[in-house]
């Protein structure tokens, strides 16, 4: 303590120093002000507003009454919402695991010193550049039973071939999964490939000297090393799952019936078409809670825990 007070010159000059540093930092604070406002008004304000609206009886116009949890009870009694929730779980599980597996395999196979590596990479990733609307429209056309894949196979002589998932209540959600995989696998591949390229070349040499079979190196050595990539890809894909909306609108419009409804679409429909703001915001709040509860462990492992452990 003593040494510090000895080192500090005199009170007035150190005060001037503080004032000067505040003055030089002022422009920086000003530059961040618009973003701070956006964070406050949009990211915090609008979120709270939405949560508040979910406890009102608002229909066409927002009201600020207190409706308790009535909207939530209605929500979970609502077939359309329950189907949406089920669908997003099915889609999420298949889409994320599918993208991870396909993406990893594509990356591994591309890494085997193949000819035309660049071409393969380009082909696998280009769908990711396209919008979900384009993706949905393209797959809707290819999978329509009348003129698409089913007709193609039947015309080839397999008269009884049936592939009507797009118009089949029970199977339609899986066509969305297929389109999603087509769109997103390339992204996972790119992330995994970057991870594979980052692996120490000496590790491969060591494994070769030890005579470890290639597949075994991938499962025992490489895969554990790719864990950060897998986590990144999963988080990225998961945010895509929650936002799933355009693809459904373009491909099935939630149909046949309500077979491919998803939460994001449920919210949009109730807010802007069905004039049921209370129910729509309640569904949005449920989405928010789900995302936060999925996100929390990830944020914890990634940002909170490492600081505690490593010195």
């Amino acid at each position: 303590m003593d040494t510090i007070s000895i080192r500090a010159p005199s009170v007035p000059s150190s005060g001037a120093k503080v004032r000067r540093s505040v003055r030089t930092r002022l422009p920086a604070a000003f530059a961040l002000l618009p973003t701070a406002l956006v964070v406050l008004v949009v990211y915090i304000g609008c979120m709270l507003w939405t949560v508040r609206l979910s406890f009102t009886s608002s229909t066409l116009l927002p009201k600020l009454d207190w409706f308790g949890f009535t909207q939530y009870t209605r929500l979970f009694a609502n077939d359309r919402f329950v189907t949406s929730a089920e669908n997003i779980v099915i889609f999420g599980a298949l889409f994320i695991s599918g993208c991870l597996i396909i993406g990893f395999l594509l990356a591994v196979f591309i890494e085997q010193n193949v000819r035309g590596e660049g071409l393969f990479r380009t082909v696998f990733l280009y769908p990711y550049a396209m919008s979900f609307v384009v993706t949905g429209v393209a797959w809707q056309w290819f999978l329509n039973p009348g003129l698409g894949l089913q007709k193609l196979v039947r015309d080839m002589g397999f008269e009884s071939f049936t592939f009507d998932w797009l118009v089949n209540q029970r199977m339609a959600i899986y066509t969305i999964v297929i389109a999603g995989l087509w769109h997103g696998s390339g992204l996972t591949m790119a992330i995994m490939l970057a991870g594979l390229r980052g692996i120490d070349k000496d590790l491969w040499k060591a494994a070769k000297i030890d005579g470890i079979p290639t597949w075994r190196v991938y499962t025992s050595v490489v895969l554990p090393l790719l864990r950060p990539m897998v986590v990144t890809a999963t988080v990225l894909l998961a945010t895509g799952v929650v936002k799933l909306y355009d693809l459904v609108v373009a491909m099935t419009l939630g149909g046949p019936g309500i077979a491919t409804e998803v939460p994001a679409k449920f919210v949009m429909d109730h807010l802007f078409e069905r004039n049921n703001i209370g129910l729509g915001t309640a569904a949005a709040t449920i989405m928010l809670i789900t995302v936060v509860s999925v996100l929390a462990p990830w944020v914890y492992t990634r940002y909170v825990r490492p600081q505690g452990r490593h010195a």
């Binding site: 040499k205 060591a206 000297i209 030890d210 005579g211 050595v221």
Partner: protein
Amino acid sequence: MSTVSVRDVTVAFEAVQVFDGLSLDIDEGEFIVLLGPSGCGKSTLLNAIAGLLDVADGQIWINGKNVTWEEPKDRGIAMVFQSYALYPRMSVRENMSFGLKMAKTPKPEIEKRVNRAAELLQITPLLDRRPDQLSGGQRQRVAIGRALVRDAAVFLFDEPLSNLDAKLRNELRVEIKRLHARLGKTTMVYVTHDQIEAMTLADRIVVMKEQKIQQIGSPDEIYHRPANLFVAGFVGSPQMNFIMGRIENTGEGLSFLAGDRRLSLSGYQFATAPSAGQEVVLGVRPEHLEITGTGIWPGFTVDIVEPMGADTVIWCSDGLGSLQVRTTGSRKASPGESLTLQVDSTQVSLFAADTGERL
């Protein structure tokens, strides 16, 4: 008998030739160091011996067997890498036994070998830790242990100490030397760019530059009789002094002449006979210059004094060129002081100015 024999090997990367017809024979139990600056091809040669790299032409023999087409694991070699290359998320024990497990070695045998290697390297307490819980020095010990359990006849080291700090490097260097002595008949091929490692470890050093072998010889030969200017300049710190001049025949024998400075070469053993008047470079190690009152080269002025504890390096010049002189640490000198130098002609090296080869 040689354990490793590289016969006329050519290596090519995408049509660019790295080596062209390179040959090297390594004796059983020998410690060979491949020394050279980065990009000189020393690691490429090591990888070719290991079979991690396809040779374009020539043969590689290990233990009397032509292994040119063999897989690395079947060559009877073990290898240690600069980046340790330990398998992450496997314990030290698993790291050391993974290869043996893959080769279907019986469990008790694996255990025996792992324990023996661990004891030899004093890493027994670390066996159940994971690589990320170890320090750099410990990791490299584990990597050496992983090589040891293979019971290989030939050990390949690819700059194993380059990632370690100076103190650890010295420690592990000694340990590798001790290990070589204890293993007896094990041949070691060791790649480094560090001349101290090369000098201290090697039975023979192979100095390489631009994909060509410059000189093969014992550390003593490399240091005292460098085959060319490159070897002379690369090995030794502080660097050898080079003085441009020419050969003159004075009637009482040959002597070296630079400006008005002269050195009789009567004590010098010529590798190839020079001709009178030939342009040459005289190489003198800093410790072979002596500061005496009766020296043959007077008139040097001290520029800079670098005390290094045990030694002192004095930079001095005579207007034409500057020389480094290494003397004992007790020798005091101050800039501006005038010096006279004595040169021992039996300790110098002479190189042809045009080819750089030793005369």
